[in-house]
Symmetry: C2
Subunit: 653 residues, 2 copies
């Protein structure tokens, strides 16, 4: 269970093991005691409000129980509290004869049900797991042989004086809250509120909250101003698909912002020179895997700034707020140009947790060799190879076939070879139809290919070769790890990728912003804008963590003429919807730049879970659907009328 | 100017006066110096990125200039820095011959342009106000007779060694940034990014940011967990008008949440026992005055809690985060039942900054007196009066007429008398047609009405009388103050209003939740639910500040059966869209409750501005329109097709 394993490392172990050990000690313990219940079990008690228990003093010091009607959490009492009268409230985790284990967000505490007998026993026996109860009682020391040192409350138990049911649960629950019983994704989504009871989800939500607070603390300390910007706005041309929101003004719609980009630039024009926001953003991209229609980013913008200052800011910020001391990333992070990233890793977000660089072997192959062969080496064509050391015997043939299929699915003209070299001869046998023995020897020699390695080789159009080998690199690492072979070091490998091209080319030859149209061109390339725009680099930077892009930003265009030129003359976008921004740039705009970090992804990488759905309290599922509440849903007749929308589902209103 | 006056109190005075005084000292100062400009003025310099100035060491200690290319802000250099080489960047506030005043978010600094002459002088003369420039130079002491002690940087100036234009402004700006020239609301909205340059707006945004951070700090210290909940959800029955959001699933729409109410309750079911969020909420109520389609609330929920614990939490939170020491509100805040608030103030959010209670005088009037008079005193009818001490001569007749018209506009059957008692006889003359002299004497006697008072009187249906006099009370106070008569003490008057009715009655006799259908009925009134639901009080509490509701909350229903009974049997709402919540309550739900504070309103009251548009960086104007960017806007053809929406405005795409 991926989730559990991860949280064991980050501290959940105590709680989880505590539960299990508490359970086993329950089974061993006493018999024949007398039971006494003061408040009889009754479902209706959950209707009445609770009053602060007057008889027990709130001796809690760590504030977790301030402003509540409990005196302590289930994760704090120890032998120091022996003799105290306490009031705990929580969920029944285990119910074994004369013992209960009570769970709350902070831990588990064992409750001893003494001095009770007769009919009361039956009521206690009827207590269902996951019911919420109140236990008033006295802290007593456990017998020495039953002390559990791995549990915070392992040296005490509560001798119950009264028990009251606050919220009963049925005997059949849709899912059981046991760390070793992970429900399916469907169940986790439908009964999200139950899934949140799992200790690892409790931990995750707290870690996320604490992380965000640390980020804010760092930024506030450095005089950044937290400004909330609108989410109801108008469409920004040339970006992601934005949700639209009908209004009561006929035929007029808001768009939900895909980021606060325009607002943060306007704030700079407004003289607010250090802005940040943990911002909710919206993109209607739910058809793509693991995308959420709404997501959270740390959004930052500064005036009077350059690229290296922003890079330093983010490094120091992440260093400051990193939740675990031993995994705190070293700063500064390495930097790599887009050009080098593509050339060596076939990706603009290389995963540096493992080596296996892509190597150019074009020069080792005879250019005149074959006329019909696409390997007509020119600047547009290349041959490249990659070596996975000692990995020949790890993957099955089917794995390799799958990798080849997946890596070349969008570039079918490319021949990808992925050869496990179990014997020296294997490489020659596999490549004999495309290369001469001499060529193969030269390549094997230069790349120091050895028996036992896994060898990848590919030739063709340079861009395609790099893309295919970049994919091959990651897919092979995944496959090797799925087969138990360690490829990646578990460290947090941060990397800045810089000097991206400012533009990409559409299929029809028109230009497209590589990131967004507000990115400042590199000053050294300005003279190429009118002539060779595809060669212009932008002052954009991406932050990559373990092969995922977790953030990106740029120095912005702060000159109205240049902004208009790029939008209108180069990108051929309608500037009328951006006139306010162009106006703003012309009215005394400071040089400025910023960045946005995707926080859902960052948290998922910090906690080692694969899906961002595991780090969001109430995520949407496939196609943006919420299986819990049934959102999105058909309109009501009234809403259809209010917003002049077609009404096709009368039955649902 | 309301805005300015307020900010003078909270610290902007220094900056504002600083500016003015700096200006006057500029005019007095030297002539005939030699000018020298190193970097020639050129608009194109704003295209190139700035690099960190290598020649000047960053000696800034307060972090405002860390990660930037400036060394200091315009609000920090003093005589201690004399001799330092500095690099400042900011907006030109004044440009007088051989001096500039440079402004940034932190203050103003005077720049001395020495050793320059010839053609350069012309360029300097051409510098426009509100242009962004870089000044590198040396801090020098001002001559002793020109030291300005009211300005942070008043004892120094910068001897400019180089000046560079980073972002030019035109000579004609849409608005001038001068505190004594407040633009119209229209201009403030259209050129919001320029309006934000005003020092009072800079202060406000910083205060808001700091306030929110203090709130978070308090809550995190007390182990509350900051959880982001979805804004794309499905309609909650029985609330405000919610925006709908079309999706790419045919005929399916999200609703934008009007509050995180359901999610915070589900978090409690999920065992996350202390939740908060500074949450974006949405209501399509822009037809109402001073409402924003999106707004911000501090949202809090706790498990195992009672009303008085939540009240205590909010009191201590507000006390902790209050931005000014001298105005910090005393805690605990007073409490008042809904019943008493209505009876004494004719309002469920009484403004306690002034007295003038509403007094019942029904018992002083003969019940049998007049058959045709509506004053047939029964439990349903009453006569009530209100006295504004010494206020007889303040308002004009027209003012009083307006108050009467406004206060009775929804209750035309009511006769309201508002009598300035300039002479003792006035009250008798005015009321002689409805009361006997004896009755008038008794009333005047009991209420200690004196010559010089303003006296209000009203009779009729009890509810109407209270509503009319409640309105009269506030409108009269407004009118008196508009005429320069101090009525309200400037203190922050907090008040809890409790014991609201759980239900209100629709015109057709059906029930309506007074707040929302998740409010727990008062335990003492539970037995009345089935028989006299209008008599049932809810465990709801409102927080009132100076006559405005700034927050409200309740203990929630945590029993599935009761929740279903209220939704289905009493309110006759369709429970199918809330089935997930009802399910959740049945699966082990803790008793819980919470509150939400309206932060836009709170900040506006803290800063003493009347409209919440003044405390939001980018507010919407009338009908939810954004005059700056033109949102909402017609759909594009592509969006209409994507979301299967009617397309009527092809020209806009």
């Amino acid at each position: 269970m991926d989730l559990t394993v991860n949280f064991v490392r980050s501290g959940a172990k105590l709680v989880r093991l505590g539960g299990v050990l508490a359970q086993s000690s329950i089974i061993k313990r006493g018999h024949g005691r007398v039971w006494k219940i003061i408040n009889q079990y009754s479902c209706s008690t959950s209707l009445s409000t609770l009053s602060y228990p007057e008889t027990v003093k709130n001796i809690n010091e760590d504030k977790k129980s301030l402003y509540t009607t409990r005196t302590h959490t289930c994760g704090e009492l120890t032998s120091k509290d022996a003799g105290s009268k306490v009031c705990l409230k929580g969920w029944i985790q285990y119910n074994r004869k004369k013992f209960l284990v009570l769970r709350d967000a902070y831990g588990m505490t064992q409750v001893l049900l003494e001095e009770v007998g007769g009919d009361m026993q039956k009521i206690l026996d009827g207590l269902t797991l996951e019911s919420v109860i109140e236990v008033k009682g006295e802290v007593i020391l456990r017998p020495k042989d039953q002390v559990n040192n791995k549990m915070i409350s392992g040296d005490i138990e509560i001798k119950a004086l009264s028990i009251r049911v606050l919220g009963a649960a049925p005997s059949q629950m849709p899912l059981q809250i046991k760390e070793n019983k992970m429900p399916t994704e469907d169940t986790r989504m439908k009964y999200r509120y139950l899934y949140l009871r799992y200790p690892h989800m409790q931990k995750m939500l707290r870690l996320r909250s604490q992380l965000f607070h640390s980020m804010r603390e760092f930024l506030i300390q450095h005089h950044f101003v937290d400004v909330e910007t609108p989410t109801l706005f108008r469409k920004t041309p040339g970006g992601a698909q934005e949700f639209v929101v009908p209004t009561q003004i006929p035929d007029h719609f808001y768009s939900l912002v895909q980021s606060p980009q325009q607002f943060k630039q306007l704030l700079m024009v407004g003289g607010l020179d250090r802005y940040f926001q943990i911002a909710r953003c919206y993109r209607d991209e739910t058809v793509r895997h693991d995308r959420q229609p709404e997501f959270t980013q740390l959004d930052i913008e500064l005036s009077f700034v350059d690229r290296k200052s922003i890079i330093k800011l983010i490094e120091e910020l992440l260093n400051f707020c990193w939740p675990s001391e031993e995994e705190r990333p070293d700063i500064p992070f390495p930097q790599m140009t887009y050009h080098d990233a593509m050339l060596n890793y076939g990706s603009d977000k290389p995963d540096l947790r493992f080596q296996s660089k892509i190597c150019d072997v074009t020069h080792l192959i005879s250019p005149q060799k074959m006329g019909s062969n696409p390997l007509n080496v020119s600047s547009e064509l290349s041959a490249r190879a990659i070596v996975f050391s000692k990995a020949a015997s790890i993957c099955k043939k089917e794995n390799l076939k799958e990798i080849i299929k997946e890596a070349t699915k969008n570039t079918s003209s490319i021949n990808l070879f992925l050869i496990p070299i179990k014997k020296n001869q294997d490489i020659k046998n596999s490549l004999k139809n495309v290369l001469t023995v001499e060529e193969i020897d030269k390549i094997a020699n230069e790349l120091k290919v050895e028996e036992g390695d896994l060898f990848g080789f590919c030739f063709g159009k340079n861009q395609d070769v790099l893309k295919v080998l970049g994919l091959t690199r990651v897919l092979t690492a995944d496959a090797l790890e799925a087969n138990g072979f360690t490829v990646r070091e578990p460290n947090n490998c941060f990397l800045w990728v810089v000097d991206f091209p400012l533009f990409e080319e559409n299929d029809d030859g028109s230009l497209l912003s590589a990131h967004h149209p507000f990115t400042q061109p590199h000053p050294d390339d300005l003279q190429l804008l009118g002539t060779e725009p595809l060669k212009v680099r932008g002052l954009h930077y991406d932050l990559v963590l373990n092969g995922s892009e977790i953030g990106g930003g740029s120095i912005r265009i702060s000159d109205a003429h240049l902004q208009k030129y790029i939008l209108h003359d180069l990108l051929h976008l309608d500037t009328s919807t951006l006139q306010h921004l162009i106006d703003a740039l012309s009215l005394g705009c400071p040089p400025h730049g910023g960045i946005a970090l995707g926080l859902d992804r960052l948290v998922s990488m910090m906690t080692g879970v694969k899906s961002i759905r595991e780090v969001i309290a109430f995520p949407k599922g496939l196609r943006g659907k919420d299986p819990m509440a049934g959102a999105p849903a058909p309109l009501t007749r009234e809403d259809a009328a209010t917003y002049k929308l077609p009404f096709n589902h009368g039955k649902s209103s």
